[in-house]
Amino acid sequence: MIRLRLERRDSSPVWLSLVLPVAAVLATLLLCSGLVAMAGANVWTAYSTLFLSALSSRVHLVETFVKAAPLIFTGLAVAVAFRAKFWNIGAEGQLLAGAMAAAFVGAREGLPAWTLVPLMILAGAAAGGLWACVPAILRTRYRVDDVVSSLLLNSVIFYAMTALLDGPWKDPLSGYPDSPDILMEAEFPILLQGTRLHLGVLLAVVAAPAIWWVMRRTTLGFMIRAVGENPVASRYAGIQPGAVILKAALLSGALAGLAGVGEVGGLHMQVMAGISPGYGYTGIVIAMLARLNPLGIIPAALFFAVTVTGAESMSRATGVPVFLAEVIQGTALLAMLVALLFNTYRIRIASHG
């Protein structure tokens, strides 16, 4: 009988960190091509429409970046948290917290007009950060599993939001469950006339290198990585893991909150129930593909933004259902997870008598 055996690597070569995500993506596309064929479409045509339409014109390209902005933020949020081994599955809920805070501040009359945008950003980041502290405190103080609690808190804040939308925030005229529009002065400036490229996209693109710098060059980043890698040793070094996890949660939640701020201030100008089609969960996939490296988040987020925007065109052109994008996401996450094994292990074929 032939058995596969996993053997620990002593060190992982640098080239692997580039090869693994690419291999995972290729494996994903190969696996999903079966579905494309099942839908009766030519695999090559479908994939080329999926990936090229998003890059075909200036408008499409800009739309891809607009779509990528919230994904960059949630990807960064997950990356920061996972580095500390704080398993924050709650980016989705923290995004909603940020969106609600931004919509609330953005609709306040009587504030000086120029303060609205900065206040929205601050309020959204604060709301997301504070909401992320709930699972962090539950874990450090009460030893509650952070995966389960952060996951459940997503449902809690989602229902809180829909209660608001159905109640105090309900549109009195149309009766639609969406919040009042933010003031004109609170709308994010458009960076490129005639497109939807808004300030939030710029913030997202700047945030990635900024977070890289924080994680690599600052004491906070060092402590987050130390606690994640070895909480016991870091305690001997005088670092309090509980306090660091709380700070990581604040930073992670703030980033996820900013994803919500961008969607409200730059795109929708209001909050509605469908404001996030699972950006928080996609953030997990993105962070894993980027191997938790903030700089890798941008290409990973762009890849998913391309599949999401391209899926529409592909569906129109070839009849393959748009939901192929979601299958690709799930498969990519699993493929990357498997690929990461090659980072710590090599596979040996051992024959067994």
């Binding site: 599993d145 995966v147 459940l152 229902y159 969960y281 997990i284 939901f323 799930g330 699993l334 094994l341």
Partner: protein
């Protein structure tokens, strides 16, 4: 006040409550088996969705509801196998694998539904399971209509609770399962295969989640909609913790959740009470988190939960 109560607790109230509890009981027990064997199965939400879709489609085209249930079970078992391959054989992170399985299965469910049915203006539906009144028992006043005039799958769920408790507590397989979840090294030295036991637990887990999905699209409702699960899987994760990994307590939790949910529906329909219904919907999540905080100091979570097991590495 009496009037409100009378209006809410009509004859059908408890029967509806049992019906709402049924898919939760199936899926919660499924999750419980996986966790007692040491694997957190976060694939639950997606597995339920995919099973609900495939089961419904099979029933739609074959005209046989039971074939639909079988297909749903098969889908659940396959998804359980995938989860086992990732977390047991490859020893990957259970959290991320589970989220990945949920994403993959949900995506597949939506994709295949669109492929099979296109975008019809009215969603296709089937003649759902009808209630089967048990002779004699269903005429017991009070209890009869609540417990004994139900869907066949409801009876199955009610029987499953004592069976699951018995299997876990009193059978050699149940003992092996619990040992694997508590102390895989001990199980290994006692000659129990940790991997095989976890594979079996995850397949059983998927099968039960499959039945839960089938019940939703073929008994509770008569069609598949994209929101048919809408977080019920996460509720079941919560119920297992809430029930302290005990089948009886977890099933009781499912009933409690169903009570709140039924109450919420009735109150909303009666229009007397002016509390947003979302408050009721978020209650099980809030209660679970509070409960976890209270019990975690002496929590009885399986000791090896979330730990991959490799023989070579001690």
């Amino acid at each position: 006040m009496d009037e409100i109560l009378a209006q809410v607790f009509q004859i059908g109230f408890f029967a509806a409550m049992i019906r709402i509890a049924t898919p939760l009981i199936f899926a919660t027990l499924g999750e419980l088996f996986a966790e007692r064997a040491g694997v957190l199965n976060l694939g639950i939400e997606g597995i339920m969705l995919l099973s609900a879709m495939l089961g419904f489609s099979a029933a739609y085209f074959s005209g046989s509801l039971w074939l639909g249930v079988l297909v749903a079970i098969a889908a659940g078992v396959l998804a359980g196998l995938l989860m086992a391959g990732l977390t047991v054989t490859l020893g990957l992170s259970q959290h991320v694998s589970g989220i990945g399985v949920t994403m993959l299965c949900s995506g597949l469910a939506f994709f295949l539904y669109r492929l099979i049915f296109g975008q019809p203006s009215t969603p296709p539906n089937i003649r759902a399971f009808e209630t089967v009144a048990l002779p004699w028992l269903s005429s017991i006043p009070g209890l009869g209509p609540v417990l004994f005039d139900q869907h066949a799958l409801v009876y199955a769920a009610l029987i499953l609770v004592p069976v699951a408790a018995f299997v876990l507590r009193r059978t050699p397989w149940g003992l092996a399962l619990r040992t694997v979840g508590e102390n895989p090294h001990a199980a290994d030295s006692a000659g129990v295969s940790v991997a095989a036991t976890r594979y079996q637990a995850l397949m059983l887990s998927g099968a039960l989640m499959g039945v839960a999905g089938a019940f939703l699209s073929m008994a509770q409702f008569n069609a598949f909609t994209f929101g048919v699960i809408s977080g019920r899987g996460w509720v079941c994760i919560a119920l297992v913790v809430f029930g302290q990994w005990n089948p009886w307590r977890s099933a009781a939790g499912a009933l409690l959740f169903a009570l709140i949910d039924t109450l919420q529906l009735r109150l909303q329909a009666s229009g007397v009470v002016n509390v947003p219904y979302q408050v009721f919907l978020m209650m099980p999540f809030v209660l679970t988190i509070v409960g976890m905080a209270l019990v975690s100091r002496n929590a009885r979570a399986p000791a090896a939960l979330l730990m991959p097991y490799r023989k070579e590495e001690r």
